[in-house]
Amino acid sequence: MSNKTYSIPIGPVHPSLKEPMTFHFEIYGERIEKVHLAPGDNHRGIEFMGRQRNPIQIIYLAERICGICSASHPFAFCQAVENAMGIEVPEKAQYIRAIIAELERIHSHILWAGVAAHELGFDSVLFLSWRAREEVLDLLEYLTGNRINYGIFMIGGVRRDITSEQITRIKKTLDYYKEIYGKLEDIFLNDPTIALRTKKVGILSKEEAIQLSAVGPTARASGLNKDVRQDQPYAAYADLEVQAITPEVYSGKVNGDVYDRIVVRLLEIVQSIQIIEQCLANLPEGEIVAEEKLVKLLNLIKKAQGEGIGRHEAPRGEVIHYVKLNQSELPEVWKARAPTYNNLMPWIPMLIGQQIADIPIVLASIDPCIACMDRVTILDRKSGQKNILTKDDLHKLSVEKTRRMAQ
């Protein structure tokens, strides 16, 4: 390290990932030269706890791996157990699962759009998009009983049916989103200031995305055509022919910058609306769960032996759960891999060469939600002088840059 670089630790309070984490940036002037990541502050030992609970109890633990993806983890986990036990999930349950998962994607992407706007200094847009997000939360509450941590998944199906009168209500919410989508798109994609702050910022090339196995919108924004719903369709997606969305669809080319990540996420909101509509149109009749009686289900689990894998395209990318059952109530192994785990390393090529003021938006661009970046200490190695930068200061830097560029 040359003696002209500064070292900036950030964190560890940087939640909303599974792990809040510590960053160390090495800065030359305003330019980021090196990035070190040190996750682990939020380690709760979920897999360890899972090995002391039966799979039905684990569903609720899996929901609480992440409150934002609280449909994705149980979705993948239930698939893994069903895979291990050879349970056939009724068709209607497959469709309900897909509907809930897509509703979650809508809420998560709008949440992200608000956070991204906040990082750029557009708090009015944060409020606007979070107001819009409340509608889908209302709908989720109406369908599942909860705004967050829905508790609707069960091994072998789902716990609540979608009735025909509920369908009317779902359609109403979808219409609301179709109506406001134009507004959201206009704000995010046509606003010159957002374009200035996000175009050619935080670039991840296609090669880097492949090498670092990025997933989800982060990978798709770099032009990687990958989406579990397209590549290995599961649940209702097998009937729906989902296409992975890359930024070409919108602009004809792929830059892999923050702007492209906004494009992909916004288009995915539309895609989710379409998927739900298709699901509703083709919603089959019948059972919603393979084995209704929990005691009986638990007995089946106790007898089961085998390994299973469940994959799901969560809003942030592919989530994989692996389960090994060995004729016991407790699973022998449970392993969960969340998408942000893959998307951490791509941060490094994205951040190198950027300015300090770009850190918040680049970090936010993979969608980990930087809610509480605790503080930053700038240590001038030569003079030993210490400046404390709080998350606020960092945010202020970012906002100031927006203002400068807007002039």
């Binding site: 939020n42 002391q52 934002i68 705004r147 809610a371």
Partner: protein, 150 residues
């Protein structure tokens, strides 16, 4: 709306995540945004504990975070109130048998208000903040009455 005597001045809140699942954290932000609109009471999230009157703490306190929680608490100026949002901060919740927890939160720092729920609804969080506010104003008053300047 007529404000009662407790609404002497705006309340600034610092939100601290000690290893939560985010469920509570996004409900806190939802409480600030237009549907629930905490800001109409003058309640604002701030970026540093040094500016805060109230700590909103979520999560079950992982071992690595325990020390940071104490430090954030020490940095918050008196009089202060601590609100725990979410069951996992109150009792460990679903994480009760983890090997990596120093929590619940009240084992690490003193707590004034508990808001149970996994996650609690934004209305409950708002109610929790208002309870803390009332407590805080009482504290302020006692401090004022007992100050030597008087």
């Amino acid at each position: 709306m007529k404000l009662n005597k407790y609404f002497e001045r705006s309340l600034w809140v610092f939100h601290l995540n000690t290893g939560s699942c985010n469920g509570c954290d996004i409900e806190i932000v939802a409480g600030l945004t237009p549907r629930y609109d905490l800001e109409r009471f003058g309640i604002k999230l701030v970026g540093s504990p040094k500016h805060a009157d109230v700590l909103l703490v979520t999560g079950p306190v992982t071992s690595k975070m325990a020390d940071r929680v104490k430090r954030v608490y020490a940095q918050t100026p008196d009089p202060k109130a601590v609100i725990v949002v979410g069951t996992c901060g109150i009792s460990g919740g679903v994480f009760y048998n983890s090997y990596n927890l120093s929590g619940s939160i009240d084992k690490v720092i003193p707590v004034d208000v508990y808001v149970p729920g996994c996650p609690p609804r934004p209305e409950a969080i708002i109610n929790g903040v208002l309870q803390a506010w009332i407590k805080l104003e009482k504290l302020r008053k006692t401090l004022k009455d007992n100050s030597p300047a008087k």
